[in-house]
């Protein structure tokens, strides 16, 4: 199986966010919110890192 770097990073973000959300918060509402927050941070980090690498390259 081969996948792109981006899809690998997004899938990683999905799985890690689910586990972080469930384990780091107590109520269901907080778990969903924290899971979504982690997912946004992971994916946002991918875009930021991508642009930083682009800037360093040019």
């Amino acid at each position: 199986m081969t996948i792109t770097h981006f899809s690998a990073a997004v899938l990683f973000a999905v799985f890690a966010s689910v586990v972080f959300g469930i384990t780091q918060r107590s109520t269901t509402h907080e778990q969903v919110r924290y899971g979504l927050y982690c997912f946004a941070m992971f994916v946002g980090g991918v875009f930021v890192a991508g642009w930083v690498m682009w800037i360093l390259r040019h």
Binding site: M1, T2, I3, V19, I22, S26
Partner: protein, 141 residues
Amino acid sequence: MANSSTTKNEAVAKPADPPMTTMAYLAPVVGWLVPGAGHFIQKRWIRGLLLMASIITMFAMGLALQGHVYQPNGGDILDMLGFVGDVGSGSLYILAQIMNWGQSAIQHATADYGTKYLIVAGLLNFISAADAHHIAIGKKP
């Protein structure tokens, strides 16, 4: 008299120890062996199912991406750290060792993602087992 009041003050200040029941020991061990099972035995069905699906899928994807499964006697310090991460998957790691999965040479760039998926699946399972322990001692609902 002074001793008695000091003991009373200490008793007030010190928080009560959590109850260390059989479940407090059993849940993290079962949760480590089978991802999500530490939650299942405490009737946290949805949480257990989500944890199980996430960790097992991540481990399976790591293998499908031809990631490397570290051996206990790697020698190199980074290999040892990789082993610590991998072994967190419990029975999945044992199964991978028995079936000799994850031992082929890396053939493409994204296989490195596979190796990281395998390590992180194990580390997430450690967190999941700790969460099962916290539920068992009543620290978390």
